[in-house]
Every structure is written in C-alpha cells, then in structure tokens.
Symmetry: C2
Subunit: 312 residues, 2 copies
DNA sequence: TACATTCCATAGTCTTTGACTATAGCTGGT
DNA sequence: ACCAGCTATAGTCAAAGACTATGGAATGTA
C-alpha cells in the first residue's frame, strides 16, 4: 500500500467522483482510477460502488476511510514537527555546564534564550568537564560548556570566551595589596580542587610556569565549598573572577588580581563531532558569546558607561 | 514522502544500524540508505547521526518517529478492519423488511444471525416495499426483503420463498367451513391495505383471476391494525398465513385456507444492482432461506415429527 | 428513439524510481 | 598498521506510475 493511494482514496471519498478527485490531486483520471483499482485489489474488496452518476463508499470503504485519514494526518504531522524544529519553534536542548560558569553566565543566558525561543525545552546540568564529555558521548547532553583545551576523538570544541582567574583570600588574611604576582602564591595555604579537575590542572600549570609549588591545604570538588572554606580562613584559592563576584558573600573575601602572568583559561562549547547540532544548539552558542561579552564589559568597566542605559 | 520510507526509517531507528535494518525489511543496504537519504533531504534535516558504530536518532528524528510510528499503525489498522469485514468479523448491515415478514421471520432470523456473527451491527427497519426501494436507492439500506416481482432499473431481486395467504375472519363471523374458495370473498366485507400497497394489489389481481370484486369496507396501512379491526368484527381480510399465526391474539380470529386458486406471493431479497454486497449481506440472505424453510416445515406439519427433537 | 454528455475503465507509450551489485571511504579495534 | 564492519556512491535494470487516446456504460434531453 502506498501513501499515494491513500491520498487518492480520500480525494475520491470526498468528491464522490473520480474525475473531480483526479483534478484535486493533480493527476489524470486514469492514473487515479488505476491506483484505486490497485488498492481495491490489494485489499480484496471494492472500496467504492460506482453508481452511474455518483461514487459512494462501500462499507469496507467507510471502515478504511477512518484509518486512512488518520494515517495521512500523522504523516502530515511528522513533517510538521520536523519543520517546527528547524525553525526552532520547538525542540529540546540539554546543556552541561561547569558549575563555575553555571553560576554567573547561565542565569542571564537562559533568560535571553527563553525570551527568544519560548517553546524550546531547556535543561541545564552543572557538571565537571569530565562528566560533560561523558554526557556528550552517551547522548545525555546535546552540548556542553567546558574548559578548553579539551581533546577528545569525537568531541569538537569552539572557544567562546576567556575567564580571568583571581586569587581569593579570606578577609582575615593579610595580603597587603590589591594585586599579587603568581610567585606570591608559594607563601599561601591554598584550597583547590582535586588533581583530576581541570581548574586544578590549570592552576598547577600556571604555577609551574611561574616556578612556584603551591601549598595545598585542602581539596574540595565544589567551588561553592571552596569559597566557604576560604571564607572561614582555611586558606586562599584561585577561581574565576566572575564566578566569585557573582556570589561574593558580603565581602568576607578579598579578590586579588593576579599578574605575571595573569592566569586565564578558555571556556568553550563542546559537542559530538558527528552529532547533528540543531538550530537551538547553534542559537544557544551564539547567545553564549554575546551574553558573555555583555557581562565582561559590565565587569571590567563597572563605573564607565559603556552601556548608556545602565549608566543613566 | 512514501510509506516505504517510514518503514525503513522505523527499522533503522529500532536497530540503530543500517545494515541490520536492511535485512529486517528485506532490501539491500544501499537501497535503504538511499531511501533514508531521500527522506532526510525532503525534510531538510538529518534524522540520524551516523556515529561510526551506532546510528542514533537526531532530535528531529525523535520527533519524527512518534508520528511515523502512528502513521504506520493506522495503515495497518486500515487493512485490518477491511479484512475483518471480509471475514464478517465486523461490519454493519441495515435491512429493510416488510412488516408482515418482519413479524414472523425476523425474530428467529436475527437470533441465528447474531449467533453466527456476534460483531456485526444489525439494524432492521420494517417498511412497506416502496420505502424499501427508496431506502436502497438512497443508500439508507444495505438490503431489503420485499414482495416480488419488483422491477426497478437499479434493483436486483432474488426470490427467497413463497408466502401463502389466508382468509382471516373474526371469530364472530360465520363462514361455516375451514376452507373457502376465492369466489366466496365476494360476499365478505373486507379490511385491506390501500390500493398502492403490494399486498392489496396482489389480492386484487387474485380476485380478478377468480372473477370476483372484493367489497372493501376499510383500508388500513398496517397489518397490525387490520388484524385488530378484523378481531373487532369490522370484516375479514387476507394476510400471509404465517404472519397471522405468529400473532394470533387468543383465537379471536379464524384462519381459513383459501383455494381455487390459493393466493400466494413470493418474498425476495432486493439490493442495488451495482452496490457491493458485503459478506454479511450474503450470509443474511442465506440464513433467510434456511430459516424460512424451518418455519414452513414447522407450520405445515405441526403434529408430524419431521423434527425428531421436538416430537420426542 | 435517438443523440449528446458525463464518467469510469482500458490500452499503449514514456519517464521516473527503486532495487541490486560492486566498490569506495571511513571508523574502531587488534 | 592492518583487518573488520558499516555507510555512501556509481552504474545497471526492471517495475511502476503518469499521460493521451479511446472504449463503453449510464444519464438526461430533443
């Protein structure tokens, strides 16, 4: 059985006339007759009684019509949902993000995204980079926001923006200045993530460049926990500046710029190389960049009126 | 879009592998690849991501799958309902019958029919012959049970059985014998149907043959009403013997055989010549004959034990 | 009754399309 | 680095659908 036959069938059932039906489906009358004939032959019974002037459904035809109509409607809808997806009018996007990035970027990003694509079902999971990669490989995530570089056979990354890292010290700790050299870290007790975390590796490599060996007094996996430990005076830490600023708990902490060199890392979009990224994913990545640009310009020059609206 | 493509699509979605899917739908792998490719091209997006080992649905594919599956199921059901109809496992049968026939034949007929085809929806309308013909022409009825002969351009008839007509007289009326000649009718007040009814025409023609002119004292359209009028002594009438026997109200009536000649008429099945008669209609007609045969053998030889079961 | 019209079915021709085989290209595992 | 497994492409062939022309039945009209 073919969809064509169902369409022709419905046309005849509607018009009760082969010739009119043929015009309606844009084929010649013989073509339509043959298709209906074939359908009837296949089913083993007549679907229409040809009564001189009119053509009417047999009982078999009536029963058949119910399901033929539904089948055609489902086919139509199958097309429709895909087209809506392409137009980003519907769909689903599951994003994995680093919890640090999650804290300051995701909230404004999500709100912008939802504004533009209200019917895309969005899910955001805060996870460490390794879990994001696993999630992508297992198809649990559509895209991830990770630290770069990330080299994995099947994962492609696109740099989105850089994060500056800053030294975070308890208010009680006397650093004595607003800026610190990387070398100065050698003298501080540090609270860092475990060795297999990206952020820790990054810190280690920066320290190595500066020729210092950090004194790690506590390892914690969550940046949230680290901040709390720092606030209680356990030690200092190094975290993305924007992250800390987004949740600075009533200035119990000092944020101290690092330089010589300033540690930075690149945040990027990650996705399975062969996996088809939907419209929604593309848009999400684009919004990611513009949102970040806005955040950084607000952060680096807070008193300056780069954004007139706010300054006024 | 073609049903073939939906089937192939579902196979790939199920097996997550083109080659296996191809085996499953009994085509070569390239054929299947091409069809999927065509479908994706038509929809304007990938439905599957080909990840080396596995093949997984894209988001578009997932949305598409829902409706594709439903569409295929509807097509399957469309076939199914027709096949069930052919096997008379379901369906509908609307029958028009003469009210006289209706009274004695339909009850046992319907019960037998329902026994054999419990899922056929049966509807029986008692109507005069002319209405039955109209009903057939207007497709309100599937088949009709009428008096023959009935000649109409589009209606075909099949004789089923003969009905003997008998003289029905009120108990009060003194006929003096169990049998009466047609000629005897001339002396009786008669209650008959109006002139445009088949039964009346039939009586008229029988009378004409016998050379008598009936004295009609009352015309009524319903045989039921006629019987009541007769019971009250308004006059005698001529009705199918079986009909009267089926509803003899506590022997207030005499049933008198007519002879010389015995008036009879033929009851037959009528249907639109070009209309396709379903399995149910065929079976109904067949049951009609056998049921009638049983009724007549019970009626003509009530004391004799033609049906051993009863006699014992 | 005969004629004109309408409508569906059939015949014959042509183009499209789907299926097949063989093979290339890529991936993943040994 | 090679082998095994999988999908995509190329090329050929046969089936199927569409079209035009026409036949034949039924309907309505002069």
């Amino acid at each position: 059985m073919e969809l064509r036959q169902l369409e022709y069938f419905m046309a005849v059932a509607t018009h009760q006339n082969f010739s009119r039906a043929a015009e309606h489906v844009h084929v010649s009358q013989p073509s339509l007759s043959i298709q209906i004939g074939g359908l009837e032959k296949e089913l083993g019974t007549r679907l229409f009684d040809r009564l001189g002037r009119k053509v009417v459904l047999t009982q078999a035809g009536e029963l058949f019509q119910v399901h033929a109509e539904r089948a055609l409607r489902e086919v139509e809808q199958a097309e429709q949902v895909v087209h809506e997806l392409l137009g980003a009018k519907r769909g689903r996007l599951i994003v994995g993000t680093l919890s640090t990035v999650n804290s300051y970027l995701i909230a404004p990003l999500v709100s912008r995204f939802k504004l533009r694509f209200p019917n895309i079902h969005l899910q955001v999971h805060a996870q460490p980079s390794s879990e994001i990669v696993n999630g992508l490989l297992a198809n649990r995530l559509d895209i991830g926001i990770c630290l770069l570089p990330l080299t994995h056979a099947h994962v492609t990354t696109i740099p989105l923006f850089e994060e500056r890292l800053a030294l975070i010290a308890p208010a009680s700790m006397n650093i004595g200045k607003r800026r610190a050299r990387m070398q100065d870290l050698a003298q501080l007790p540090l609270v860092l993530m475990p060795a297999d975390y990206c952020l820790r590796k990054m810190v280690e490599s920066e320290c190595a460049k500066a020729g210092v060996h950090p004194q790690v007094v506590l390892e914690m996996t969550s940046p949230e926990g680290i901040l709390q430990a720092v606030a209680e005076g356990t030690g200092a830490t190094i975290l993305p500046e924007l992250y800390v600023k987004s949740r600075l708990p009533a200035s119990q902490l000092q944020i101290i710029d690092l330089y010589d060199p300033t540690p930075r890392h690149t945040v990027g979009l990650a996705y399975l190389t062969k996996r088809h990224r939907g419209q929604a994913a593309e848009e999400f990545a684009a919004l990611c960049e513009t949102t970040m640009r806005d955040l950084q310009s607000d952060s680096t020059q807070p008193p300056r009126n780069k954004r007139k609206g706010r300054a006024a």
